[in-house]
């Protein structure tokens, strides 16, 4: 009872702070400071139609690198926690009777979903979307595969190879930015191209493809680790 009332007092205190924040909030009319710079010069400096992509990949590229690192660490910690002994043969993990219709349609749908993911991250600098969303869509395609076609296995070696390759190339492109252009992860190592076409905005499409591959393989790895846990007794 004492505990509950303490929690209640804490929540009420927080609510009072929130309420005062809410009441003192006045919506601003115009962009200020660094956002204004992004909006005014983003087109000339970066050449990406989607300004959010420009901020994520170039202006705040370090944040994204850190984020991808955090995701990588999470995936590896999960893999470490859920160490599955692969020595057990797959014979005793009887494949559950699955629906024929779902299996057949999944075979049609999975390539289309992967294609959609690739489309989303290749066009990340023009339309809403980008590496993270595309990677998540690819990961959900693999989830469909795990559910619908349980007898198919996915090779962890290929996953980790793709992931390491994309992570390494991401950092290498960043270092190339120091050598060829103004600084780390500068996108002007390639020419900016015509504004609004697919091959524009310098290195942004390249970086987003790498991020997409990395995020997709990492999320697939997490889910595949959890899935292999299901079969283990």
């Amino acid at each position: 009872m004492l505990k509950n009332s303490l929690i209640l007092i804490l929540i009420l205190g927080f609510a009072a702070i929130m309420l005062s924040l809410f009441l003192s909030y006045t919506p601003s009319e115009d962009l200020k400071g660094v956002s204004k710079h992004y909006a005014e010069y983003g087109k000339e400096e970066v050449g990406a139609a989607n300004l959010v992509s420009a901020v994520v990949v170039t202006y705040r590229g370090f944040d994204t690198l850190g984020e991808v690192t955090i995701l990588f660490l999470t995936a590896s910690v999960i893999g470490f926690f859920l160490k599955v002994n692969h020595s057990k043969d797959d014979e005793n993990t009887a494949v559950k009777k699955y629906s024929e219709i779902l299996g057949t349609s999944a075979k049609i749908l999975i390539p289309l979903m992967v294609l959609l993911g690739v489309y989303v991250f290749i066009n990340g600098h023009l339309t809403p979307g980008g590496g993270f969303q595309g990677g998540a869509i690819i990961a959900s395609a693999f989830v469909l595969m795990f559910i619908a076609l349980p007898q198919r296995k996915i090779s962890h070696k290929v996953l980790s190879a793709v992931e390491s390759f994309s992570g390494l190339s991401y950092v290498l492109i960043g270092v190339l930015g120091i050598i060829l252009a103004a600084g780390f992860l500068d996108n002007q190592i390639l020419s900016l191209g015509t504004f609004g076409s697919v091959l524009s905005a310098g290195a942004i499409p390249l970086i987003y493809i790498l991020i997409g591959l990395k995020v997709g393989t990492e999320l697939t790895g997490i889910i595949s680790n959890l899935k292999e846990l299901q079969n283990e007794q």
Binding site: S99, I101, L102, S105, I108, L109, L112
Partner: protein, 114 residues
Amino acid sequence: METLKIIGAFIVLAGSIFLFLGSLGMVRMPDLYNRIQAGTKASTLGTILTLSGIIFLSSGWTGKLVILILFVLITNPVSSHILARAAHSVKLKLTDKTVTDKLTEDEELINEKQ
């Protein structure tokens, strides 16, 4: 031009009528299997009719809309099939008026064989 627009508008109207009937079926039907039946059948046809009506209204979107219709045709029946199957496998009750239950008969047949 005008006639095309009128035809398109009528097709969209027909589609929305089917969608409405589908949502009515979700309320009126007695158990989950009938609801899935009503919802999916009517809403698949309704969505396809609505999308193909939009083809008449603005012809520039034809390619995208055809792809959308194909996606609806692939995913909608499969997802409802999986829903019904999952409901059957957790032994959700059928309504009292049910005459035949082929999936249970089939499973019993398989069990007898083993």
